[in-house]
């Protein structure tokens, strides 16, 4: 009986020990979960020298993902803590409160996506008055843009797109173009449209038969592409200005069984676009280097904080992703 009692004592002792360790582990993990998500303490998180605010449209476009990735990647080197505000892409005015907040909070830097019709010069002046380094980024520098604008060069994107289409279709090209949701209003003023128009001039009577601005939203690209194909039977090429529009247009072409009869030149990169390129649905994609733009924006902020000098507008350039080539 005594031996049995000792065996029980040892067994229950081990159970007690295991239960205590499990309990401690569970409590630790629960507290970690709370800490990670809720119980934030300034002393526990990493500090930074600069407070850098980024204001972007709330879009799932890979251009913006790349932009944020580029900024986040470079921020530690600039000793900056990055705070991203996203506003609904349908209303650029929604960006206004965040711009004001950044000024009121006296942040050190503000990287803001600027649509081509934005009052970028005025913003830059207000920011300068409040001691905030203002770095505008976008696809194309708005008219009268302040020095320091960092863009993707959508004019060159349009030229490259037109060249790629005409290389395949030549003068038979009947092109439809899906323009960015945010823009100056007039389609003819869109740099990408202008670039495309300039590129096909060398292949008469190649023409742009349709140009539509994509509406904000996930499915808007599909609606636009579908409507464009239905209303223009002669259309045999599509040029997209964003990654989401590219995926939408590809899906429409597949659904309408127009693969091979309508050539798609996409924009930017994503796994879906790569898949469509591999399948031959998308001929090529003109990839705007938004990561570089993000890095360059942080770099410009650092330079501005160091010596206060503003740089001339720069364009990031592009690369082409296709099944048989790449480059920039």
């Amino acid at each position: 009986m005594k031996k049995v009692a000792w065996i029980f004592a040892i067994v229950f002792g081990l159970v007690f020990l295991c239960a205590t360790l499990m309990n401690a582990d569970l409590i630790g993990r629960s507290r970690t979960a709370l800490n990670r998500n809720v119980l934030r303490s300034p002393t526990r998180s990493t500090g930074a020298r600069y407070h850098l605010v980024v204001i972007l449209p709330d879009s799932n476009d890979s251009f913006f993902r790349g932009l944020v990735d580029g900024i986040s990647e470079s921020a530690p080197k600039a000793d900056a803590a990055v705070q991203v505000f996203r506003y609904p892409g349908t209303s650029p005015l929604e960006a206004e409160p965040y711009f004001e907040i950044a000024l009121k909070a006296k942040v050190d830097g503000l990287i803001m996506f600027i649509p081509s019709n934005d009052r970028v010069a005025e913003r830059a002046q207000i920011a300068a008055r409040n001691g905030v380094v203002f770095i505008p980024v976008g696809t194309e520098a708005p008219p009268g843009s302040q020095p320091g604008f960092i863009g993707s060069g959508s004019l060159r994107q349009g030229i490259e797109g037109g060249r790629r289409i005409c290389e395949v279709l030549g003068s038979a090209a009947r092109i439809g173009i899906i323009l960015p949701a945010t823009g100056p209003g007039k389609i003819l003023d869109e740099p990408i449209y202008r670039g495309l128009a300039a590129a096909i001039k060398a292949f008469p009577p190649a023409s742009i038969v349709a140009a539509e601005r994509a509406r904000p939203g996930v499915l808007s690209g599909e609606e636009t592409a579908s409507a464009m194909v239905r209303s223009h039977p002669s259309l045999n090429a599509l040029l997209c200005s964003s990654s989401s529009d590219t995926v939408s247009a590809a899906q429409v072409i597949v659904d309408m069984n127009k693969v091979g009869s309508i050539l798609i030149i996409g924009a930017d990169e994503s796994p879906e676009i790569h898949r469509y390129i591999q399948k031959g649905v998308v001929k090529a994609s003109i990839v705007r280097d938004s990561i570089w733009i993000g890095r360059e924006a942080v770099s410009a902020f650092s330079r501005s904080k160091e010596n206060g000098s503003a740089l001339p507008p720069v364009e990031a350039g592009y690369s082409v992703s296709s099944s048989n080539e790449g480059g920039r």
Binding site: F8, A9, V15, T20, I27, L34, N37, V38
Partner: protein
Amino acid sequence: MLGTVRLKIIANCTLVLLIVGSATFYTGLASSQLARSVVIFFRDNLLMEDLRQDLDQTEEGLTGYLTAKSSDSLKDYIRNSSRLSEHALKLNRAIRTDDYLLLQRDLAGTIDAYLEDANASVSAKRGRDVKGYSDRFELSVRDAELSRLLITRIEGIFISDSLKAFSGFNARISSLLATNAVLVAAATFMGLALLVAFSYKLTRPLSRLAEAAMAVGRGEYDHELPAPESNDEIATTTAAFSSMQASIRQAFEELKSKSEVEKRLMEERVRVLDMDHKLKASELLALQTQINPHFMFNTLSAGMQLALSEDAERTADFLETLAVFIRYALQPPSRQVEVADEIECVERYIWLLRLRFLDRFKFEVHVDEEALRVHTPALLLQPLVENAVTRGLKDREEGGTVRVSVRLAGQEAILTVEDNGDGMSEAEIQRILREEPGQEILHTGGIGLRNVIRRVTLATNGKGHVELISHPAQGMSVRIHLPVGVES
């Protein structure tokens, strides 16, 4: 104090209580930590609610003052703006790589801007600067809107994060409760098992002691108690019990030994009494025979006179010798005589035997001169000679020889009677020496060999002894060893 049963009980109970207590303490501590986590969980959210409330009340006070310019509204504004300012101080203002903390920093900035604009508006109002206070008021309203936007955003993040946190927390809460229950149960059962084990360890010596006590009760005084494993009261009791057991065992041994001695003494006493009784019986017999021998002696003397008167000298000699022998024999056998007297008695007896047996037996007597004056109990040799003739040589028709000799050897005189007759068997010798009752060897008209041995022992206080040497079919020798100078 060390090693006492009380200390052991206290130590064991303390250990068990510590185990159970530690489990309880741990679960309590864990619960309080979780409770504290939950408090912290909501603390920031409460701060947001306070800020929102302060902002509303401050704005209300400000609007009230600017519209009515009442001192109450101003007081409300001052009180509320102070509280707003205090609460705003709790917001994070450091630059941290955390979105939530950066939002707090933004909020702190917008609230500061709001308070600055609001205060400027009040100041302008006091200065009657209508445009100034209306402009700053509009700015303050915008600041408040931005602050509310940030509060809403912070709360949104908080709710989103809280849900994630609660999801992570809730996923483990049932496991946590289960491990808590297992922990407490395991601690309780472990404590119980330890208590049982300790109680066995503590009471085992007592059980052994009880078994030993019961064994002693049954009379098993040899029941061994194992050596105590500890140095406590039980060990002391066990040692005392062992000592008591040993004492009882020793007392019993002594009692047994004493009883044996007493038994032997009693047997000795009985033997002595028996001997006395037999001696007295012998003496009585002797007395009885003395009565008649006097008559017989007188009669023999008269016969001797008659034989002389009739010139029958040989008959007269016979009667005279027989009368003298009888007179010697009838005197008390316990008396001491000289060896010379004993030899004279034996020679007379031999003379009488020769008359009876003629030349059938040969008798030889050899006595050292220096041994003649040695004292000896009376009538030792005659019974031995008689025994040799009547037992040893009874079946010899001729050639039977009886030798009687006396010599000194150191401090003792050795009286020997030997014959060349049948001898005695070893069993017979042992029976005579053991003095078995009812086995006395008596002879007609004489005292037997056994009587001789006993008388030698008694007369010499055990210093003398009789030696029986027998060679079956070859003869027997009886040697009486008497210490020289022994008086009865």
